[in-house]
Subunit: 100 residues, 2 copies
């Protein structure tokens, strides 16, 4: 399982619109193959900052399956204009101390 | 429920030692009042980068209950010397669109 992490900074005054748009957008991501779960949480310390955590079965499910899909174009259209700066997205996996 | 998020950058060459130290340290955090769960995951894109996610019942459970406890001094001793730079820790809560 892979954890996708995106720290999002939404433009001032657009927080409510972003949250409404995300309500729609989450239906898209949740329908993708390899999707496990997601959560959007807002920061207590910084206005307009959010963290998006998405769990995928594999890295390819996110990077190829989702990002190269027609559904991604819809996701982009709904959400990307809210971000400033454009977020860095990274992937994480559970630490397995005996693996290294 | 509150989500504590810390992006950790561990000094080069110390990844294995950090992971072993974390094995011990996690017992401390898991014993604190208000602790719900935690996960440590390592970044696929950046060597030595980790994300620590801790779920707490309230912000005070982390900021007062844990950080002002004697147990925090143990946690610090086990882990803080691995980090460069010292991490920023932020707190998040689930977006509730009808609340705003």
């Amino acid at each position: 399982m892979i954890l996708e992490v995106a720290m999002l900074q939404v433009r001032e005054g657009q927080y409510r619109d972003f949250e409404s748009a995300f309500e729609k957008a989450q239906i898209i991501i949740a329908s993708m193959p390899g999707y496990i779960s997601h959560e959007l949480q807002s920061c207590l310390e910084v206005a307009g900052k959010y963290i998006l955590l998405v769990r995928w079965q594999t890295l390819e499910d996110h990077e190829k399956g989702f990002r190269l899909s027609p559904q991604y174009q819809e996701w982009k259209k709904l959400l990307h204009h809210f971000y400033d700066p454009f977020p860095v997205v990274e992937h994480f996996e559970h630490v397995q101390p005996n693996k290294r």
